[in-house]
Symmetry: C2
Subunit: 282 residues, 2 copies
């Protein structure tokens, strides 16, 4: 497995691969890899000749009071896991390499960034779309894979790719869950043992909500039940639970679109998200 | 000469050219070509195997009270001129092709867009940087050529390319002037014969200002003289004349950077810009 840490070396390598007719599959990550990330590698490998995984904890997508400085990391472990899973190149730039000068250029996606996590995490999606645009220009992928766990991120990236005519296919891999249903997240490690057990409530309320919708219950009643169930759990601080049309993230006026039910819950200073998608054909 | 009008056909053609090892030189224009544009073609040809010229009057960079609807155009004439000058491919998309859905994604370059033309043309540079990002993703150039006449645009594009790690070399071609000194512009055709004659004042004050600076006059005194000279001309409505550090477009505190003197003047409803660059080594 190759390791590349400079933008110029990565661009030169990517350009050479493309010239050689290779199809590049890309998995952008913030590292501290778990089975969710590794499933993205599998998905990338199904549609590429070369898989490139980036590890970059992007300061531009963290707010001043967020967990940038405590975000977990272990590059040696990540490299081992990536290599074992068949990654060909790990791109691991420093912050100085990615932001050598004062960044004045930002990619802003409107509307879809203003709800759910975007409502409370000011500037978060601006940081995400900007760094993904940068990484696409550096890694030059044909295909990039993102996890459905960040459903809003997926919607933002797909809209950016469409609006800016980026010639990159976006593939979505399903949420990978622990045996009890908790969605895999690099942040789970920071939960206390008790909170980690209790955090199962996130997926439980989502599964119940989907069942309710499919049985014909109203959106407002399933959301009310979910809210009540979360509020009954010790330390669980509900930030939002919302049901929106997907992927436009507008209000759900009829069932002509997929329905996304998404939530964010804090346990102490650990913020977890989860979601479930109800296909219109379901 | 090839003519391409869809995004998908242009992307496929550009990708095939790159795979074939060809170096793509790109000249983005709004059409109604004049000798200034044609000099950009020459510059592109010096550093590429294939030159692609785009013609697209981009509604996103015109304000509601600006001249989008009266912007001159003549595609047959443009194609003839482009072919004669050696362009290989003309990319000529419709507005619907470039903006098929409601555009929610905007590339914003801060600071350098907030002075000069950016101060009065709200949203103009957001429209410019966004459409250039789109065109780069569609035409996939190795090199793109812009005219020094839009000095601020050049500064904005170069900053965007650097900040977003776009792997495109930006080349700048000098301002091409009519024999009397008037900078070539597609908008000159819309001047009355009298105004067109009087518009020579723009270049005259800039040449005088440069002479003054090189002789050791202060920036404020050359700007004051230029302002007075423009105000003495019939119908000339001075929007701004400013001297800024280049390319950061900050205040000129010492002579460690190049100095840009730029101006915008209206004659009736025709807005003209011009500028002169004084190299720090001069």
């Amino acid at each position: 497995m190759e390791r590349i840490s400079t933008v110029s070396a990565m661009q030169a390598r990517a350009e050479a691969l493309r010239l050689d007719g290779r199809r590049i599959g890309f998995i952008p990550t913030m590292g501290y890899l778990h089975e969710g990330h590794l499933s993205l590698i599998d998905e990338a490998k199904r549609d590429s000749d070369i898989t490139i995984l980036s590890i970059f904890v992007n300061p531009a997508q963290f707010g001043p009071n967020e967990d940038y400085n405590s975000y977990p990391g272990d590059i040696a472990r990540d490299e081992l896991l990536a290599e074992k899973r068949g990654v060909d190149i790990v791109f691991y730039p420093s912050v100085e390499e990615m932001y050598p000068h004062k960044q004045l250029t930002w990619v802003n996606v409107e509307t879809v960034t203003e709800v759910l996590c975007g409502a409370s995490r000011d500037g978060h999606f601006r940081g995400v779309s900007t760094v993904v645009a940068k990484l696409f220009n550096i890694v030059k992928p044909h295909v990039a894979v993102f996890g459905q766990k960040d459903a809003q991120q997926v919607a933002v990236i797909q809209k950016m790719v469409d609006d800016l005519n980026m010639n990159v296919i976006i593939r979505i891999a399903p949420i990978v869950r622990e045996p009890n249903g908790l969605a895999m997240s690099s942040r789970n490690i920071r939960l206390t043992p008790e909170d980690r057990k209790n955090a199962v409530i996130l997926s439980q309320v989502l599964f119940r909500a989907k069942d309710g919708i499919l049985k014909g219950e109203s959106i407002s009643s399933v959301l009310a039940a979910a809210t009540k169930d979360i509020q009954a759990v010790a330390h669980a601080d509900l930030e939002y639970i919302e049901a929106l049309s997907y992927p436009d993230l507008g209000p759900m006026t009829d069932f002509n679109n997929d329905l996304l039910i998404a939530l964010a819950v804090r346990f102490g200073n650990v913020r977890l998200i989860d979601n479930i998608l109800i296909k219109k054909s379901s």
